[in-house]
């Protein structure tokens, strides 16, 4: 039976996160549906990573509710996590373990049966058959990224969280990753990704949220966001080629100051 499309797979309601006196996320709310790629865009320090960390269960929010596949992460954290796949910016595996051993480790902790044919099939899908017994630390950056995505998807999660997944990838690898994301969307998975790349957001995201200073400034499809903000004087000022782009809207809404 296919995944039911357009059903909320992630619901974030009034999420607030502080670090001491500093409020990083201020009452943020959004929904990611099945069969949707949702992009969270914002400059450095806008609150993207904090929001993502709270969804991953790595950070305890001050207030708000996060529901993943009908499981409140406070009440049923393990059930919620069982339905989420996560790909971090840093790959995060023991460099001493081989690719096959990493696959077995994560298959075990996600309760996925993984015999040799299944492992081979997975290795073939990420085109790492020849590197099966290579240690993770010996792989190239692109190969490590592929292992990371395979592990994020090893349990077929309904929701996939990708934290700046194409950072550092060459154009070929980036395109390949976009195709994989689109493929997941077609199968009905929900994808939440953070990115600094407006090109990426426009190319793959069905909806995006622009976040800054812990607040969502705009949330809609990329086209609608451009349309709704095209007459904003700050956006027009940010425009460089006459035609308003998503980047112009982003700069117009978040300012030109460089963030640390």
């Amino acid at each position: 039976m296919p995944i039911q499309l357009n059903t909320p797979v992630l619901q974030v309601q009034n999420l607030s996160i502080s670090y001491g006196e500093f409020q990083a996320v201020k009452s943020v709310s959004f929904v990611v549906n099945t069969g949707e790629i949702f992009g969270l865009l914002g400059p450095n320090g806008a609150g993207k990573t904090s929001t993502l960390s709270a969804i991953e269960g790595l950070l305890k929010p001050d207030a708000g509710k996060i529901v993943i596949a009908d499981y409140d992460i406070k009440e049923k954290p393990l059930q919620a996590r069982a339905n989420v796949g996560v790909q971090f910016q840093s790959t995060g595996f023991q460099s001493e373990l081989s690719v096959t051993e990493i696959i077995r480790l994560f298959a075990g902790i996600y309760a996925v049966e993984m015999d040799k044919p299944k492992t081979d099939k997975l290795l073939s899908a990420i085109k790492l058959e020849a590197e099966a017994n290579k240690r993770f630390g010996q792989l190239s950056g692109g190969q490590q990224q592929r292992v990371s995505l395979a592990i994020a998807m090893i349990h077929n999660p309904l929701l996939l969280l990708l934290d700046e997944p194409t950072t550092g990838l060459d154009p070929q690898s980036r395109r390949q990753l976009w195709e994989r994301m689109e493929n997941l969307r077609e199968k009905g998975h929900g994808v939440l990704l953070t990115t600094h790349s407006m090109e990426e957001a426009e190319a793959v995201c069905d909806r995006i949220a622009i976040i800054d200073h812990g607040k969502i400034l705009s949330i809609d499809t990329p086209e609608a966001i451009i349309q709704n903000n095209k007459d904003n004087p700050e956006v027009i000022k940010a425009s460089r080629k006459g035609k308003i782009t998503l980047e112009d809207v982003f700069i117009g809404l978040t300012g030109t100051a460089i963030r640390s």
Binding site: S90, L97, R104, L105, Y110, L158, K187
Partner: protein
């Protein structure tokens, strides 16, 4: 299972029959243990250093065995091994994995966080057992040190108690310091300090006052309970005090380590 999609996967509502599963705690621990033992095994050079240094010191101390007794030599050699496990092995491993994001990757999986640390500690306890056994064997074959069976068993138990204290100290250092390289250099310094002051202070080479300080230091108390456990007939009030102090140090260091430990150095 399919990387690029999920034919047959149903939306994981609570009533769904195809919901993603949560592993049993036993299964999760078993999987983590396999990976952690494998990782430790791949770091053989570090393991060999942890085992070889105390054995080498024991063998080179042959002359002192007659002067101070076999239990004294064994206890000091094991204490050096325990110091290396807690300070050089464990703390550096957790600081390095934290830096790489290994813990964060495991924590987003549907396993309780305590299973991740328990697996790590189980590997270290095994290492304590192997080091202690290696020292006993080396003592028997090279220095002809023979203990009663109760001495070996109680000695091993005392090694676990002392090891817990040093693992706690390693955890505290990794808790206080976020950067893996700083943890590495700090633990090396503390290790060197403990070994030099502990060993020579315990022998009385550094004077009476330092000797007294060393006796009640983490190094001295662990060495003392080890020596007394290996010869149970010599267990006295001072041994009990050393045991209590070891437990106290272990509690303080572990509490500091747990309180200050951050799973990630990045966020």
């Amino acid at each position: 299972m399919c990387l690029l999609g999920s034919p047959g996967l149903q939306f994981a509502h609570k009533n769904s029959t195809m919901e993603n599963k949560i592993p049993s705690t036993n299964s999760a621990i078993s999987t983590l243990l396999q990976a952690d033992f494998r990782t430790q095994w791949r770091n053989r050079r570090a393991v060999i250093m942890i085992i070889i240094v105390p054995v080498f010191i024991l063998i080179s101390w042959k002359g002192l065995v007659e002067k101070y007794g076999g239990a004294f030599a064994l206890s000091n050699a094991i204490t050096i091994g325990l110091t290396a496990i807690g300070l050089m092995g464990y703390s550096n491993a957790i600081a390095r994995d934290r830096d790489k994001g290994v813990f964060q990757r495991l924590r987003v999986a549907p396993v309780p966080a305590w299973t991740i640390m328990m697996s790590r500690l189980a590997v270290q306890l095994t290492l304590i057992m192997i080091t202690t056994t290696a020292v006993f064997v080396a003592g028997f074959y090279y220095d002809k040190i023979s203990l009663d069976m109760s001495g070996y068993i109680l000695g091993l138990l005392a090694a676990f108690a002392g090891g817990a204290m040093y693992l706690g100290l390693g955890q505290a250092i990794a808790g206080m310091i976020n950067n893996a390289e700083t943890v590495n250099s700090t633990t090396r310094l503390v290790y060197f300090f403990f070994i030099m002051i502990g060993m020579f202070g315990g022998l009385g080479v550094l004077g009476k006052e330092i000797g007294e300080l060393v006796k009640w230091s983490p190094y001295g108390t662990v060495a003392h309970i080890l020596a007394s456990s290996m010869k149970p007939s010599t267990w006295d009030m001072e041994s009990t005090m050393s045991l209590l102090l070891t437990a106290g140090y272990a509690t303080i260091f572990s509490s500091m380590g747990i309180k200050w430990f951050k799973w990630s150095s990045a966020r």
